[in-house]
């Protein structure tokens, strides 16, 4: 059955029509997309808010929020979380922008290698980063052991234990995110704009404020928002260095203890507050952040200035310095995953493969589950994300703007918040299911898919932009259906973009450990959960070994992305 709703307006030929040949099938598909968003995003969030505004008996109350905002400890946690978030945005901005400018605008030896290496630090599963740092910079880490044994220090230097340790870990983990956002934004500035500015006398700093700054702002704001939220939602890192007066840590600690119902409720309230804050930040940044702005239509070839030899040396030295720091956790993790009984010596004395054997051969479930769930989640991402992007760009279906906002909202939602929302929402069995979703392993791929959906939507959207509408119209004019057009014309043109976005989702799904930690079903643990369980179970070496495997997997995916994306993402930097 065809609905054939055609409301041809004058001049609508080039633009998508309001109701372009909508088939019933298409409408059902669109309804299914909405169903997905409603069941797996909107409902859990509503449930979270409902729980935080009611008592255990279901009576409306503001008392929960009252006790939050009158508790000095929670207020301090809120303050600390905000400060830490802002602090990390500042530090990552300084490093991230400097790195982006160097790699984009200037030429020096090793630039290509650096442009690959500077993204690597993003591959850092939660907990693994801070563990690696503690192995090297902790009170008994390599550096302190050397300082005390050979340099006569009486007391270890406290690099890690405290809020500064968290800042260090987050900064070196997240600066590539900032770099990528800036690169993405700067890539869109056409050199002709630059030339135009220079021709009317706008040079140097003036040009930066006239042209570069305004045009890179959206990219920068997006990056800043991501960095902020990431730091804001991370509870694993602070706990390792003995910090618990942060919102995410309090949410986690209060939730995972069930003894005190009051504290448990406060955990829910804190998560709700985190979600509300995330939405607020998003509204503030909304002017700059939307899926559309992620899209990079085409990267213009940027002319690079050749630096003078001393400056070249400076650039190389700066990047090397940053990278050495950023790679510290990798050294730490590698040493600890192979080393046995490593304590108070600069490097382990004995080496073994037993930890790798234990986490791969003896209990392969961590790796297998990780790969399986991430793969399923990527499939869900594609099944939902590609149609969403397509609907946003090629149709004028009502509500598609809302889909855009919802997808962006996901980016800003703290994982802890989503995890707790799911815990509350899917505790009771579905109407026609015998068991609640919470007890089933499928909840993991679903939550992973929801959390990583924006990357697929973004990748697809960007690729679709490049496919000119006329290609599709040509196919349709010779009688191809929408479906057939999509399959024969659009898909072959965009699959690379979709795949890149999906691989990106895959890497991030592999590393996700805030929502999944709260939702894990016994017997179905994945690698990140394994890392966490091994760590808190005292088997740090096994945690390190799993982390090491995860890092290798991530690096391999990143390499693949680089290869696939080729010139478009420019090996990211072109």
């Amino acid at each position: 059955m065809t609905l054939n709703v055609k409301t041809d307006k004058a001049g609508a030929a080039n633009k998508p029509r309001i109701w372009p040949d909508v088939h019933a099938g298409g409408l059902v598909g669109y309804a299914l997309l909405w169903a997905f968003f409603i069941v797996f995003l909107i409902y859990p969030l509503i449930r979270l808010f409902y729980d935080s505004f009611t008592t255990d008996e279901g009576i409306f109350t503001l008392a929960n929020f009252h006790s939050f905002f009158t508790d000095a400890f929670y207020l301090r946690s809120l303050m600390n979380s905000m400060l830490l978030g802002v602090g990390t945005v500042i530090t990552t901005s300084i490093i991230g922008i400097a790195v982006a400018f160097l790699l984009l605008r200037y030429d020096f030896p090793g630039r290509r290698l650096f442009s690959y290496l500077t993204i690597i630090p993003m591959i850092m599963p939660p907990l693994v980063g801070v563990m690696g740092f503690v192995f090297i910079l902790g009170r008994a880490g390599t550096v302190n052991v050397i300082l005390q044994d050979y340099c006569g220090f009486q007391q270890p230097v406290n690099f890690m234990y405290g809020i500064h340790g968290v800042l260090l870990v987050e900064t070196l983990h997240l600066f590539p995110l900032m770099t990528l956002s800036i690169v993405d934004a700067m890539g869109k500035i056409s050199p002709s704009l630059d030339e135009a500015a220079e021709s009317v006398g706008s040079r140097g700093f003036r040009k930066f404020f006239d042209i570069t700054f305004p045009l890179t702002t959206p990219g920068y704001v997006t990056g800043a928002l991501l960095v902020f939220i990431w730091t804001f939602a991370d509870f694993a890192t602070p706990l390792v260095v003995g910090i618990d007066d942060l919102l995410a840590s309090q949410a986690y600690l209060n939730i995972v203890q069930f003894v005190d119902r009051r504290l448990f409720k406060m955990g829910i309230v804190i998560s709700a507050i985190m979600v509300i804050l995330a939405i607020l930040f998003l509204i503030i940044a909304k002017k700059y952040v939307s899926i559309k702005d992620y899209s990079s239509l085409s990267y213009t070839q940027i002319e690079r200035k050749r630096l003078s030899p001393p400056l070249q040396a400076g650039a190389v030295a700066f990047l090397t310095f940053i990278l050495v720091f950023a790679f510290i956790p990798y050294f730490g993790i590698a040493l600890d995953s192979f080393g046995k009984g490593w304590a108070l010596t600069p490097i382990p004395v004995k080496y073994t493969l037993q930890y790798f054997e234990r986490v791969s051969v003896e209990t392969p479930k961590f790796i297998l589950n990780s790969l399986l769930y991430s793969a399923i989640s990527v499939m869900i991402c594609i099944a939902v994300g590609v149609p969403v992007a397509w609907a946003m760009l090629r149709t004028r279906l009502p509500g598609r703007e809302v889909l855009d906002s919802l997808t962006t909202l996901i980016l800003a939602l703290p994982g802890t918040g989503i995890g707790i929302a799911y815990m509350r929402a899917f505790r009771e069995p579905f109407p026609f299911m015998s068991i609640a979703l919470i007890g089933l392993w499928v909840v993991i791929p679903i939550v992973l898919a929801v959390r990583r959906l924006p990357y697929t939507v973004r990748g697809t959207f960007a690729s679709l932009l490049i496919v000119h509408r006329s290609f599709e119209e040509a196919a349709e004019s010779v009688g191809a259906t929408k479906m057939k057009t999509f399959r024969d014309v659009t898909l072959p043109l965009i699959w690379k973009g979709v795949l890149t976005g999906s691989l990106y989702s895959f890497i991030l799904a592999l590393q996700e450990a805030s929502a999944t930690l709260l939702l894990v079903v016994p017997g179905h643990e994945m690698m990140t959960v394994g890392i966490f369980n091994f760590y808190i179970g005292g088997s740090v070496n096994e945690a390190a070994a799993l982390g090491f495997i995860l890092i290798i997997l991530g690096a391999a995916c990143l390499f693949l992305i680089n290869r696939l994306a080729g010139s478009k993402m420019g090996g990211v930097f072109g």
């Binding site: 003995g242 089933l440 179970g537 005292g538 740090v540």
Partner: protein
């Protein structure tokens, strides 16, 4: 929604299939444990149980453990409201098990009478610590003290020796002590109670504040404590179960252990959850652990048999002998006089538990920075 309907149909079908298969066997082919007993012990025990099930019933048993701190596991079981996702709860303090039994969330333990009677009713003087529930809702499985772990290399550097609780208050140890919080760890909670019941409420908290002044880190989980000490990040760990400390030795670390005066000795209680998905496997597991094979197995891990019938003994160089050397030559708790001041009737009350936890949170956790500065 189509996907759901399909999924629901499949999951229901699978559910009935599995139920059908398992009813034909001696025990179910799955078994889930919720436990604060760390991986060092529960992992090998579960493996041995799976091998035993294969041998005895030819069942390919799939086991899994939810590692949770005692308070969390306890709360989780309450939260399940009689529809547990685990079969057996293992470890922690007997008082919490009494509470669960009162809530009607436990099933009576089914083991042969002879096995049950071999376990003494209690241990310790002047206050006796029960090792099993007279109403049979839980049974002790092994004995282990909550003591002090230390890194000898660091203590030597600091010039400190540790023999008993009070040595922890030495100002030279400032920033060197690692402990978990009493609301996250039952070993910490029980040891706080030992201090509080030794000195009384006021003086006890004064002591604990002095301990906090020396504390460099409150870890997220009790298992982190021996961990950071064996790495050398911190010199001393408070309220560490002996098997966790011994696990670090087996991992190749050089750590030492002190069993201070009146330290809490836990029987690591075990109970079958009412409505457990695999009840036959659950009862079989308890019987296995209390058998000679089970007790021998755990005695290689730094804990002690629950009955005087068995002792920690092995060939020279075996883990059993290493464990005996590690804990100062003791082979059984029933060979030595055990001091205990921990009164379960006082400490186990829900109100008291909350009082201790909230006092800790208000007066120590929130003011830790100020306490350190003093």
């Amino acid at each position: 929604m189509k996907r759901f309907a399909l999924f629901a149909a499949i999951s229901v079908a699978v559910f009935f299939c599995l139920a059908g298969i398992s009813s034909a066997q001696a025990i179910e082919n799955e078994f889930y444990l919720i436990t604060p007993v760390s991986k060092d012990v529960h992992d090998p025990v579960l493996k041995a149980f799976a091998a035993y099930a294969k041998k005895r019933w030819n069942v390919d048993l799939k086991t899994s453990a939810m590692p949770q701190g005692t308070p969390v596991a306890y709360g989780q079981i309450l939260e399940w409201k009689g529809k547990p996702r685990a079969d057996v709860f293992w470890g922690g303090e007997g008082t919490l098990f009494d509470n669960l039994a009162r809530e009607g969330l436990l099933e009576k333990v089914q083991v042969p009478d002879k096995m049950w009677n071999e376990i003494p009713a209690e241990i310790g003087k002047p206050v006796g610590l029960p090792l099993k529930d007279p109403k049979k809702f839980w049974v002790g499985t092994m004995l282990e003290p909550y003591g002090i772990i230390y890194q000898p290399k660091l203590l030597k550097r600091l010039g400190v020796e540790i023999k008993d609780w009070d040595d922890l208050l030495n100002p030279k140890l400032k920033g060197q002590i690692a402990q978990c919080t009493p609301d996250r760890s039952s070993s910490s909670h029980a040891s706080y109670e030992v201090i509080l019941q030794t000195y009384g409420w006021e003086k006890g908290w004064e002591w604990l504040k002095k301990l906090a002044a020396n504390t460099g880190i409150f870890t997220a989980r009790s298992r982190d404590v021996p961990n950071v000490v064996s790495k050398g990040e911190f010199a001393v760990g408070f309220a560490v179960p002996s098997y966790m400390a011994f696990a670090e030795v087996l991992n190749g670390y050089d750590v030492k252990y002190v069993f201070p005066k009146n330290a809490y000795v836990t029987p690591e209680p075990m109970a079958v959850l009412k409505g457990a998905p695999h009840p036959k496997a659950a009862h079989a597991f308890i019987e296995f652990l209390l058998s000679e094979e089970g007790q021998k197995l755990v005695s290689a891990m730094g804990v002690y048999p629950i009955t005087p019938k068995y002792k920690v003994q092995g060939a020279p160089g075996s883990n059993q002998e290493k464990a005996v050397a590690f804990t100062g030559g003791m082979r059984s708790f029933f060979d030595i006089p055990v001091g205990n001041v921990y009164n379960a009737d006082t400490a186990g009350q829900k109100k008291r538990i909350e009082e201790v936890n909230s006092y800790f949170r208000k007066e120590i956790a929130e003011k830790h920075k100020e306490i350190i500065k003093k």
